[in-house]
């Protein structure tokens, strides 16, 4: 098991190198000259040239690549072109809101989706099942920003029970303020994952309910509720957890939109700003950072399988 973890962590190194090279090439080959953008509309050709030299954009592409990798190896993601701050510092500053938003979304999603999916599986074919599945389809279909604005309109502007936007750190303003500001973004971001995970849970639990050991549990005289809790859910867990893991990875896209809609100063906003400004070092740093998080989550998901199923051993 420990050996497996070490192996998996070592295996992230080549993956990260490939991601780094890919990111590097993708941005270099994309149209648009960052030096021209930085220099602004009134810059002369000399100005642009000076900035190009400053950024090292005149070096042959292989030299640029070598420098980039050497820099990464030192844990340095470079310096932002506009703010002149190290990219690691920028990410560090913006990490907290995003991390907390992601955590609250996942928690809320799991708490809602798993019971809902289980109920639908148990009552398969009934109106409850159809209602859950209807919600599921609707949840998939509504874009995040539309949902966000609808929620703001109803809950904040009409009913005035929640703030329209913004972020209040729990460490500065306390939990209550934090929670009030977090409710709407969490709801907005969760809906699609609730839809996805409820569906997956339903399919998985429904399959498990056909198994012989569920029949055995009935033959013991066990109640249906305990059969679901004790026998079905744990056996259904592996595919559900896999989808939760995938959901966390997909969440990166949702975070960008949600943070924009609710004006939360997190990594999603940083992505958006960096892309609009063609701030190459920041974009590269963020992609690398997200890839790393993704790999880490995958590892955690794989390891969590052993908690649910004793037959899985690494």
């Amino acid at each position: 098991m420990y050996l497996y973890v070490i192996k998996r962590i070592l295996a992230t190194i080549p993956v990260m190198v490939i991601v780094a090279l890919f990111v590097f090439l993708m941005l270099r080959l994309a149209p648009g000259d960052p030096a021209a953008v930085i220099a602004g509309d009134y810059a002369t050709a000399e100005d642009v040239e000076r900035i190009r030299a400053q950024l090292g954009l005149n070096d042959p592409i292989l030299v640029q690549m070598g420098k980039w990798l050497a820099q990464l190896a030192r844990g340095d993601l470079g310096t932002a072109i506009f703010s002149k701050l190290p990219v690691t510092t920028l990410i560090g500053q913006r990490l907290e809101p995003t991390l907390l938003l992601a955590l609250s979304t996942i928690t809320f999603t799991v708490l809602v989706a798993v019971p809902l999916g289980t109920l639908a599986a148990y009552k398969a074919g009934s109106w409850i099942d159809r209602l859950v599945m209807l919600f599921s389809v609707a949840g998939f279909s509504v874009p995040v920003f539309v949902l966000g604005y609808i929620l703001i309109y109803v809950l904040s502007m009409q009913l005035k029970i929640l703030p329209v936007q913004g972020y209040k750190s729990p460490f500065e303003y306390g939990l209550w303020q934090f929670a009030r500001h977090m409710i709407l973004p969490t709801l907005t971001l969760s809906v699609i994952y609730i839809a996805l995970i409820a569906r997956m849970t339903r399919a998985s639990v429904q399959e498990v309910l056909q198994e012989d050991y569920v029949r055995t549990a009935r033959a013991k005289g066990q109640s249906e509720f305990k059969i679901l809790m004790r026998h079905a859910l744990r056996n259904a867990a592996v595919p559900i957890v896999t989808v939760i893991g995938l959901g966390i990875a997909l969440m990166i896209g949702g975070v960008v939109v949600t943070e924009s809609v609710f004006n939360i100063p997190g990594l999603g906003r940083l992505v958006l700003d960096a892309v609009l400004a063609r701030d190459y070092p920041v974009i590269q740093g963020l992609i690398l950072f997200f890839s790393f998080v993704y790999i880490l989550i995958n590892l955690l998901i794989d390891l969590s399988y052993t908690l649910f199923d004793p037959r899985i051993k690494y």
């Binding site: 050996l3 050991y213 033959a219 066990q222 026998h231």
Partner: protein
């Protein structure tokens, strides 16, 4: 037995269960009456679709309520009518007053819960014992079914136990509250023959000690002969005959019972003429197959699935390969067909060594060796007509569509099916018919060697005997060399000229079938023969 005169534990009277609309018949079971007394083992025998399992599941209240509805009759468990009980009352009775052991102990146990806890769950539901008292009782129950070291095994998961141990866990679970009635649904069918003998002896022993009534569902007359006090024979949802074991087995009156018993292959091989020494169709020498996981940083664990296997099959001859699960018999078959690649050794057919031949050179030889698998339900593509399945092989080898179709029609007649049925899909056929189609499919390639890998194991006895006869006929007719893989010593006795016994990947004994059965040399062969259920009964007398 001693207490048979007392009131029955279970008394089913006129039980009728309706099937959902659109089924092939109106009732799953109709007017079924039977009873089980204390201390008595009643075997309910029948082929698939006879309604024996529906009867058992209706007693337990485990039938899907939407699809199967009891419409008439009564089920008295120790005097109480189960059909009048609410769900809640049934739950209280299940596990405490009546318990059930299922066919497949691997899937009947929850894979992610410790086996001890699964037994303890029963006590948790029906008693208010403390945690430690429950654990103590579970260990006693495990001890009672002769599980080794129950204290340690309490914490095992099902996949860490053998099939026999898992079934013992199921039995311990069923017996933990000493129910009056035990229903056993084909409890030994999924087990190897030596394990089966042990589990049967265990059920018999426990039933005697605890004085339970046992309703034992089975399709195997060997098992009936070993365990039954009384026998109930079912066909198409109806009871056709019931009586004491000896009455039914020695003096069956109903034609269906006679036919069933007559279909059970005898353990005594028939007299066979010494075969003339024909041309060798297939030989294998020093055949090895090892599975190993040698990974980066991990130490490899090597399993010898087949070790130094030697075999020769001549044209017109059947060589049986018998053994229990894990003996390597199927590995040998799959290596010879090159469905898996042997690790080393030679396989010679038509003078060519195909053991390690690359796929491109192997192709012309592939058609020479054809295989028929165990499960006819899964070995035909459900989305293609059987005609398409049969002509596909020959057409891959360049036969024109018209000729291939003509050959398929001819073969349908050979296997006893109408050529018109070529346009139908597999689900429109019964299991036995599908296996005939699989045989026709194999023969369409005009092979020299036909491998039957447990080809009759999934079939009901009456169908089994027909398919065995068919295999025998096609072997004669096409002068085939046949390799017959089976775990069933009765079947092997009837069809094999020579026999090869495998254990742990090694051939332990080989010889003419009659000689091996009459005078087994290796202790493993002896134990296999001794474990064959109902060996003292000769069923073939009604054939």
């Amino acid at each position: 037995m001693s207490v048979q005169d007392s009131k029955p534990v279970l008394e089913i009277t006129g039980l009728t269960v309706r099937l959902p609309e659109g089924a092939d018949r109106e009732f799953a079971i109709e007017d079924v009456s039977l009873s089980v007394a204390r201390g008595e083992v009643v075997c309910v025998v029948g082929e698939s679709g006879s309604g024996k399992s529906v009867t058992a599941f209706t007693v337990m209240g485990l039938i899907p309520k939407k699809d199967l509805v009891p419409v008439a009759g009564s089920i008295l468990l120790q005097g109480e009518d189960l059909l009048k009980k609410s769900d809640r009352q049934m739950r209280a009775l299940r596990g405490e007053k009546m318990a059930m052991v299922f066919q497949e102990p691997m899937t009947a146990l929850n894979p992610v819960i410790k086996v001890g806890d699964q037994i303890a769950e029963l006590l948790e539901i029906h008693t208010n014992m403390s945690g430690s008292a429950r654990k103590k009782r579970v260990i006693e129950a495990m001890d009672d079914v002769s599980l080794p070291d129950p204290k340690t095994m309490y914490n095992s998961y099902p996949h860490q136990l053998s099939g026999g141990q898992r079934q013992r866990i199921m039995i311990a679970m069923a017996l933990a509250l000493e129910p009056g009635l035990l229903i056993a649904d084909e409890p030994t069918t999924a087990l190897d023959v030596t394990t089966q003998a042990e589990v049967l002896a265990l059920i018999k022993d426990i039933q005697r000690r605890h004085g339970m009534g046992v309703m034992f569902i089975t399709h195997d007359f060997g098992v009936v002969a070993d365990i039954a006090d009384r026998v109930v024979v079912m066909q198409n949802g109806k009871v056709v005959e019931q009586g004491s074991r000896d009455e039914i087995l020695r003096n069956p009156t109903h034609p269906y019972t006679k036919m069933l018993i007559g279909s059970v292959p005898s353990l005594t091989p028939p007299d066979r003429p010494e075969p003339e020494v024909a041309e060798i169709a297939l030989e294998a020498h020093h055949l090895n197959k090892t599975y190993g996981s040698r990974g980066f940083l991990t130490k490899g664990r090597v399993v010898h699935a087949a070790q130094d296997v030697e075999l020769i099959v001549r044209r017109g001859e059947t060589l049986g390969v018998v053994g229990e699960s894990g003996s390597g018999k199927s590995t040998v078959a799959r290596c010879i067909v090159r469905l898996i690649d042997p690790t080393s050794g030679d396989i010679t057919i038509d003078g060519a060594n195909i053991a390690t031949m690359p796929e491109r050179e192997l192709r012309p030889y592939r058609k020479e060796i054809q295989i028929v698998f165990q499960d006819p339900y899964r070995s035909l593509n459900p989305r293609r007509t059987v005609g398409q399945s049969i002509v596909e092989g020959p057409m891959n080898y360049g036969l024109g569509a018209a000729e291939a179709l003509a050959r398929a029609e001819e073969l349908m007649r050979v296997v006893g099916l109408a050529p018109e049925a070529l346009d139908r899909f597999p689900h429109q056929f019964s299991g036995g018919q599908r296996q005939r189609i699989c045989i026709a499919r194999a023969l369409a390639m005009e092979p020299k060697v036909l491998i039957a890998d447990e080809a009759v194991s999934a079939l009901d006895v009456s169908v089994q005997s027909q398919v065995l006869r068919l295999l025998h006929d096609v072997r004669e007719r096409f002068d085939l060399a046949m390799l017959f893989i089976t775990h069933d010593l009765r079947v092997a006795a009837q069809i094999c000229d020579r026999i090869m016994v495998m254990q742990h990947g090694v051939v332990v004994e080989e010889g003419r079938t009659a000689e091996v059965y009459a005078n087994p040399q290796h202790p493993y062969t002896q134990s296999l023969l001794a474990a064959a259920p109902g060996r003292e009964m000769d069923f073939a007398q009604f054939a």
